[in-house]
C-alpha cells in the first residue's frame, strides 16, 4: 500500500498513522493511531484506502473530530510523576477520531485496522471536503492550518438552498464581520460571473458605526493578514461600491453620524409614501399576540387612508384629506386619532374601546419615536433621500441610533419594499442579499409582528426569488424556527455554554459544542450541506476599515514629516 511510487497522493498527502484495531472501526467513525513522528489535529482531513473484496479499492475520507494522548502501561494517576522522574517506563499513545465524510465509490464499509491513514492535501483534501463537487466555490475562510475553505454557491443563491444563519455571543462572536466577509468574498471573487455587477446587498448597521467605513481600505492590516486574502484568491481592499445611509438629525436633513461627515446620505420617507405604501403597520411592529385585534384596526386604517387621501397637488411629499393638506406627520397622526376615536366613524368598525385606546397609545409612541423619519412639506428633495439600493453594490442602512420602534419601522419598510421589488422582477438573478443582525428582535420565536411576517416570507420564498437572508442573532433559541431551519448554512461563533446545549445547535456534535464556548473572535464553526460535520474556520481580518482610525491613511514615522525640515 505504501509502495505506490506513482500514486499522485504521495506528492501531497502524507502518511500520519494507521487505523486502530483497539477501538471499533465503523463506516462513520474510526480511530487513527498517530505515529510518533507525525500529528493530527482537529479538523484535519484524513483519507484511508481500503480493499473491499469484489468491489476494489474504496477511499474513505473523513475529518478529525477528536484527538487524545495517553500513557499506556500506567494505571494510576500518580504514575505520571514516576514517569517524569524516569522510574516508570511507559508508552505514549496518540490517536485521533475521524468522522467519515465521503466514500468513493459509495460502499459503506469500515476501514480495516492496520491500514495506513494519510493527512489529505491538495486534490485529496478537496475531495474529502467535497470542494471538488462545488461548481461555484465561494471562499468561506481558512481552515485552522491555513488552507482555504469554500461554500457552494448553489446552496447560497437558491438553486439548491439559500440563506445563512449566524449565532454567537455579542462582542466576541464577530457575527456581522463574518457576514460582511462573505459578502466581500461574493462580490470580489469571480464566482458570481456576469451577475456580479447587478447583485446587491443591504446591510443594516445595528451597533456602533462599524459599517460606516466599508468603502475605505483598512490602513492597519498587517502583511500576514494580507496574505490570508491571497490564499483565498481575494483582493485586499475595501468594498468597491458602497452606499451609506443614516437617519436625519431631528429637524434637519443632515445625516446623524458621529464619526464621518462625508459620503453619507440621510434617509426619510414622505407622508405620501407612508399612506400609499401602507407603512402604518410598521409603526405597530412590536410582537403581538396573533389574536390581537389591533392588527385588524391597522389594516382598516391603512386602507381608509389610502382611499380617502388624495395626492397634494402643491407638494410631492404630502396628501390632501377632506380638502385640507396634511402637512406633516403629526397632523397625519392627529387625523388618524380623530377618526378612530369617533364612535360613528367607519374607520374603527365594531372594535372595542380598549382596542382603540391601545391603538392610539402605540400611535402616539410611534409618532414620538420616529416622527423624524416621515417628512411632509419640509421635504425639499424627497427622491434624493429615499434609500436607493440599486446604485451601489452594498447599501448600508444605519439604524443604531434609532429607538427600538424606529428600528423596526425602518427594517420593516426596507425589507418589504425589497421583497415586493424582487416579487415584481419574478426571477432569481441578480441576487439580493440582506444582512440583518438581532434577528431575535425582528423574528422572535413567540408572537406575531409584521416584520416577522416579511422575514418569514424571505426565509421561505426568498430562495426562489433570489433574496438571500444572512441573519444573525445571539441566541438561535429565541428566533422563529422556520427562519433558522430554512438556512442552508449555519454558522456559530463563540456560544454561551448554556445556549450551546439547546436543540437549535443539534447539528453540533458534543465536542464541537464544547469548542464553540472557547472560540476566539475571528473563528467560526461552519456547517455546510455537503459536509456531515461542522468545521472550525477563521476568516481574515477585515481589509476594509471598521472605524475612523483604520480608515486614516497609514501614518508615517514622523507625524511632522509633511511640513518639511527647513
Amino acid at each position: 500500500m505504501a509502495e505506490h511510487e506513482d500514486d499522485p497522493r504521495q506528492e501531497a498527502s502524507e502518511r500520519v498513522g494507521m487505523v486502530l484495531g483497539t477501538e471499533d472501526s465503523t463506516p462513520l467513525t474510526f480511530w487513527v493511531g498517530v505515529s510518533e513522528d507525525s500529528y493530527l489535529q482537529l479538523d484535519d482531513a484524513v483519507i484511508v484506502d481500503t480493499e473491499v473484496p469484489g468491489r476494489g479499492t474504496i477511499r474513505i475520507s473523513g475529518i478529525v473530530q477528536d484527538a487524545r494522548a495517553r500513557h499506556e502501561g500506567a494505571s494510576f494517576d500518580t504514575d505520571v510523576f514516576l514517569v517524569e522522574r524516569g522510574v516508570l517506563p511507559v508508552d505514549t499513545a496518540v490517536s485521533a477520531q475521524v468522522v467519515a465524510t465521503r466514500f468513493e465509490p459509495e460502499v459503506y464499509v469500515p476501514p480495516m485496522p492496520g491500514l495506513p491513514a494519510f493527512r489529505a492535501r491538495g486534490a485529496d483534501r478537496d475531495q474529502a471536503m467535497y470542494f471538488d463537487q462545488m461548481g461555484r466555490r465561494v471562499p468561506a475562510g481558512l481552515s485552522r492550518d491555513g488552507e482555504p475553505m469554500f461554500l457552494d454557491l448553489d446552496f447560497l443563491d437558491g438553486s439548491r438552498g439559500a440563506h445563512v444563519n449566524i449565532s454567537g455571543v455579542s462582542g466576541v462572536a464577530t457575527k456581522t464581520t463574518y457576514a460582511l466577509f462573505l459578502l466581500y468574498a461574493l462580490f470580489h471573487s469571480e464566482v458570481l460571473g456576469s451577475y456580479a455587477v447587478n447583485t446587491k446587498a443591504i446591510v443594516f448597521n445595528v451597533k456602533g458605526e462599524d459599517l460606516m467605513w466599508l468603502d475605505k481600505p483598512n490602513a492597519r492590516l498587517t502583511e500576514d493578514q494580507r496574505a490570508d486574502y491571497g490564499r483565498l484568491g481575494l483582493p485586499v481592499g475595501p468594498f468597491s461600491s458602497v452606499g451609506l445611509w443614516a437617519p436625519p438629525r431631528p429637524g434637519s436633513a443632515v445625516p446623524q453620524v458621529e464619526s464621518r461627515s462625508e459620503g453619507v446620505t440621510s434617509y426619510y420617507w414622505t407622508l405620501r409614501e407612508f399612506v400609499r405604501e401602507k407603512y402604518l403597520r410598521f409603526l405597530f411592529a412590536e410582537a403581538e399576540d396573533e389574536r390581537s385585534q389591533i392588527a385588524d384596526l391597522v389594516a382598516r386604517v391603512e386602507s381608509y387612508l389610502d382611499r380617502e387621501c388624495t395626492d397634494d397637488p402643491e407638494h410631492d411629499a404630502t396628501v390632501v384629506y377632506g380638502g385640507y393638506p396634511v402637512k406633516d406627520f403629526a397632523s397625519l397622526c392627529e387625523l388618524i386619532r380623530e377618526n378612530v376615536e369617533d364612535e360613528h366613524s367607519t374607520w374603527r368598525g365594531r372594535l372595542a374601546d380598549s382596542t382603540v385606546a391601545a391603538f392610539v397609545r402605540r400611535l402616539d409612541a410611534g409618532r414620538f419615536r420616529m416622527g423624524h423619519l416621515i417628512w411632509g412639506r419640509e421635504a425639499e428633495n424627497p427622491a434624493a433621500h429615499r434609500i436607493d439600493w440599486e446604485s451601489n453594490q452594498v447599501t448600508v442602512v444605519d439604524i443604531h441610533n434609532l429607538h427600538d420602534r424606529a428600528k423596526r419601522f425602518v427594517t420593516g419598510v426596507v425589507i418589504k419594499r425589497l421583497f415586493e421589488h424582487k416579487e415584481r422582477m419574478g426571477r432569481r438573478e441578480p441576487l439580493t442579499f440582506l444582512v440583518l443582525d438581532e434577528l431575535n428582535r425582528y423574528a422572535p420565536r413567540e408572537g406575531w409582528s409584521p416584520i416577522k411576517e416579511v422575514l418569514l416570507d424571505v426565509a421561505e420564498r426568498g430562495r426562489s426569488l433570489g433574496m438571500i437572508l444572512i441573519g444573525a442573532e445571539q441566541t438561535a433559541s429565541e428566533v422563529e424556527r422556520r427562519v433558522i431551519s430554512n438556512a442552508a448554512y449555519r454558522v456559530v461563533g463563540r456560544l454561551d455554554t448554556a445556549e450551546a446545549q439547546r436543540s437549535e445547535y443539534g447539528f453540533l456534535p458534543a465536542v464541537t459544542r464544547a469548542r464553540a464556548s472557547i472560540l476566539k473572535p475571528g473563528s467560526m464553526i461552519l456547517q455546510q450541506p455537503h459536509i456531515p460535520i461542522p468545521l472550525q474556520i477563521r476568516f481574515p481580518f477585515p481589509s476594509w476599515a471598521t472605524r475612523a482610525e483604520e480608515a486614516a491613511p497609514a501614518a508615517t514615522e514622523d507625524p511632522f514629516a509633511a511640513f518639511g525640515t527647513d
Binding site: 502501561g73 500506567a74 494505571s75 500518580t78 514517569v83 522510574v87 516508570l88 517506563p89
Partner: protein
C-alpha cells in the same frame, strides 16, 4: 517423534503452577568479608543518579500436554517467555526485548519444533527437553530457558556499554558464565533461605531506606567464593510489617572481585529506594517500579493467552493420528 495430546485443563490448575524455587547450590555464607562489625547498618553514600538498566523476564504456560512415544508417556507443555530491559537515565524507556516460545517435553524425550498458525501469522515453538520426568519438570525447564535468556540479555547490555544492570531475581551463581566481571547485580525479592546467623541477621531490623548490611560472601560446597551479597532496605519499615518487608537481597558474581562488589553495593543501595515498587503493586515495595511495568509490557508482547491456546488446540487437532 512423540504424539502430543492436549491437557484440557487451564494451565493455571492442576500440575502445580509455580516452578520450584531455585535451590541454591551455595550452602554457606561468610559474613565477614567486608567488615566484622554487624552492629549497625552502612548508609550508602550516593554519587547522584546514574543510568541503570533493569532486566526481567516473564513466562507463561500456554498449554499443557502429554507426549506419547511407544510405551512411554511424559508430561510437557507449550510455553511462551519474554525478556526485556528498561533503560533509566533520567527518562525511563523500554529497551531491547525478545519474545520466545518453546515446546517442552520431559524425560529427555526428543521433540521437533512446532510451527503453529495463529491468525495471519505463525508462531514458532522451539523444541526443548527436560531431563527429569516429574510433572513439574517442563515448567522448571521453561523457567530455566527464561533465566538463560535474561542472563544473555544482561550480558548483551553490558557488552554494548550499559554501566550497571539490575537483573530481577538471583544470578545462577552456581554456573560458569563468560563475563564474570560484568556489573550485573541480581536483585532478589524473596527470602528463600537464610544465609546469615541470627546474630548478623538482627541487623536487618535496623536498616533504614538506603542502608545496607556489610557485603558477605556466598560459598559453595568446596568453600570457594561464588558470589557476594548484601541486604538493602527500599522503604521505611511500617508497623504492621514483619522486619524483612521492604528488604531486598542483592548479589554479584565472585568474578567481580570483593572491592568492586562493595562499590556496587554502595551504588545500588543508594539507587534502589527511588525505584521502589508502587504501593498499588501487589508485591510492593520489592517489585521495583520499572520491573513491574516491564513485566506488564512483556506479558502483553507474548500475545493473547486464549488466542495462542486456541491456535495450539487447532494445530494439535490437525496433526493427531
Amino acid at each position: 517423534m512423540p504424539v502430543l495430546y492436549a491437557d484440557p485443563w487451564n494451565p493455571e490448575f492442576g500440575m502445580g503452577y509455580d516452578a520450584a524455587l531455585e535451590d541454591s547450590p551455595l550452602p554457606r555464607a561468610d559474613p565477614f568479608v567486608e567488615s566484622t562489625d554487624w552492629s549497625r547498618p552502612l548508609t550508602a553514600s550516593s554519587a547522584g543518579p546514574e543510568p541503570v538498566w533493569f532486566v526481567d523476564g516473564v513466562r507463561r504456560v500456554d498449554l499443557r500436554i502429554l507426549a506419547d512415544e511407544g510405551e512411554r508417556r511424559v508430561p510437557g507443555l507449550f510455553g511462551s517467555y519474554a525478556v526485556g530491559a528498561v533503560r533509566c537515565d533520567g527518562a525511563a524507556a523500554f529497551d531491547r526485548h525478545r519474545v520466545c516460545r518453546a515446546v517442552i517435553v520431559a524425560g529427555g524425550m526428543r521433540q521437533d519444533g512446532v510451527d503453529v498458525r495463529c491468525g495471519a501469522r505463525s508462531l514458532m515453538f522451539e523444541p526443548a527437553t527436560a531431563s527429569r520426568s516429574d510433572p513439574n519438570a517442563p515448567l522448571d525447564k521453561l523457567q530455566e530457558l527464561m533465566r538463560v535468556a535474561e542472563q544473555n540479555l544482561s550480558a548483551e547490555l553490558v557488552g554494548s556499554g550499559a554501566p550497571l544492570v539490575l537483573a530481577d531475581g538471583p544470578l545462577r551463581l552456581g554456573e560458569e558464565v563468560a563475563e564474570r566481571g560484568a556489573p550485573v547485580v541480581g536483585v532478589v525479592k524473596r527470602f528463600v533461605r537464610q544465609y546469615l546467623e541470627p546474630a548478623e541477621e538482627a541487623l536487618l531490623t535496623k536498616l533504614g531506606p538506603g542502608d545496607r548490611t556489610p557485603v558477605f560472601a556466598l560459598l559453595d560446597r568446596e568453600d570457594s567464593v561464588r558470589g557476594y551479597s548484601w541486604y538493602a532496605r527500599l522503604v521505611e519499615l511500617r508497623p504492621p510489617w514483619h522486619d524483612h518487608a521492604g528488604v531486598v537481597r542483592c548479589e554479584v558474581r565472585a568474578g567481580v572481585g570483593l572491592e568492586p562488589a562493595v562499590g556496587l553495593a554502595e551504588r545500588v543501595t543508594a539507587l534502589l529506594p527511588s525505584y521502589a515498587g508502587r504501593p498499588s503493586d501487589p508485591r510492593a515495595p520489592q517489585n521495583l517500579a520499572p520491573v513491574a511495568a516491564l513485566e506488564e509490557w512483556l506479558k502483553h508482547r507474548m500475545g493473547h493467552r486464549w488466542l495462542v491456546r486456541r491456535a495450539l488446540l487447532t494445530h494439535l487437532l490437525g496433526t493427531e493420528g
